[in-house]
């Protein structure tokens, strides 16, 4: 274990500053481009590279009867295509499958960094990265909605609930407008960000807490430190579950929004 007990212990309990990654290029320190060359950005690029290499290598020579690796790559796309895009949007959902599958892979791998040794932080615990994805989804679902229903038609489609007494509309239309057209990308981004942020915090608490207990002095506290570290391992497994779930939820909700935009009825 790479522990510098004194240093780590001084940071316990961890504050939000543990998410403040400084640029890896010292000359950019302080400029607006500092954030573009941090550990998190590096992890994003690595995730992209890993995904691209994985797919290009496994799908270099595809065969009708797939090899194990080809099957794995096909299932990554096939699950999103069949179980999310087609199931939720319908047969025409296939045209959104590439975007949804890319979102899923991107979110999954960037999330995965949170439990990969030496990385141990997900870029998605910085709000900026989830915001990019959420805004893309938002732009797409508003775009396809306007393309299908026209600008006014889409506004009506997404704000006016049919079968509602007329006097409810003055209350309902602003609420629908807010929730469908403004809040959706925000909740989408914040859900992913908050889960990864909190997950990292929890892992830090148990890991650093163990260090703090170990260094605290009294022999009696040493077993408690071991317990804390053991629980950090348990929470790592839990984090694996959460990060997969969040990648799935993000993709699923994107598909649901697409579906709501191109659906005929409300």
């Amino acid at each position: 274990m790479i522990t510098q007990p004194g240093f780590l212990a001084s940071e316990f309990p961890p504050g939000v500053d543990v998410f403040d990654y400084k640029t890896l290029i010292p000359s950019l320190e302080g400029s607006m481009w500092a954030g573009a060359f941090t550990k998190l950005s590096l992890l994003v690029w690595m995730a992209v590279a890993i995904i691209i290499v994985f797919f290009l290598v496994t799908y270099r020579n595809p065969t009708l009867v797939p090899s194990k690796k080809q099957w794995l790559a096909e299932s990554a796309y096939g699950v999103v295509r069949n179980n999310i895009a087609t199931d939720i949007i319908g047969p025409q959902g296939v045209r959104f499958a590439p975007y949804l599958a890319t979102v899923f892979c991107f979110v999954f791998v960037t999330n995965l960094w949170s439990i990969v040794p030496f990385a141990q932080i997900s870029p998605n615990s910085h709000l900026a990265f989830p915001v990019v994805l959420a805004v893309l989804t938002w732009v797409i679902y508003i775009g396809i909605g306007i393309k299908k229903h026209g600008l006014l038609g889409y506004l009506k489609h997404s704000t006016v609930q049919p079968g509602v007494p007329w006097w409810v509309h003055p209350i309902l239309i602003p609420i629908e407008f807010l929730s469908n057209l403004i809040l959706r990308p925000i909740t989408l981004a914040v859900r992913l960000f908050a889960n990864m942020f909190a997950g990292h915090m929890i892992l830090l608490v148990f890991t650093l807490g163990g260090v703090a207990l170990w260094n605290a002095g009294p022999l009696l506290l040493k077993p408690a430190a071991l317990g804390s570290w053991a629980f950090a391992i348990v929470m790592t497994l839990f984090e694996l579950f959460i990060l997969s779930l969040q990648a799935y939820v993000f993709t699923l909700l994107s598909a649901t929004y697409f579906q709501s935009s191109i659906s005929e009825e409300h």
Binding site: K22, W33, A47, L56, A73, P98, Y99, V131
Partner: protein
Amino acid sequence: MNIAQEAPDAPAEHGYNVLGVPLAEVIVGLIAFGVLLFVLTKFVFPRMESMFQQRVEAIEGGLVKAEKAQAEAAALLSQYKAQLAEARTEAARIRDEARADAEGIRTDVLAKAREESDRIIAAGREQLAGERASIVRELRTEMGSLAVSLAGKIVGESLEDEARRRGTVERALADLESAGAR
């Protein structure tokens, strides 16, 4: 690492803003995701789609082929059955014909044989009748002269009178004939 002292809810200028969205990170996220989206949708997913399609076609093609083979087999079977039935009726027809032929031949032969026998019998009868008639004719001429000569010898008188002689002989013969026919 920057060791900021505990500043729980201080959005101070130098503190780290958790909800901040730095433009630099947005740009990195956009470009990174854009590159990923481009590469995957351009080089990977279309190939997967075509592979899925090929697989579907392979399976469907197999099914169609199997169906075709089955239909072919069924057609052949019905054809063979039809041929068999045809052959059976043909055989029955031939048998019936043969039976009818045999019957015809038998009756023909019988009729011919009966005709032949009738003809032979008739010819025999005719021959007999002819012979009898010629015998009768011979006898008649011979018996006339014999009887005349015999009677001449016995009576000693010459029966010169032609008319009387002819009448006597004729009468005797008629008596004789009627006596023989009785």
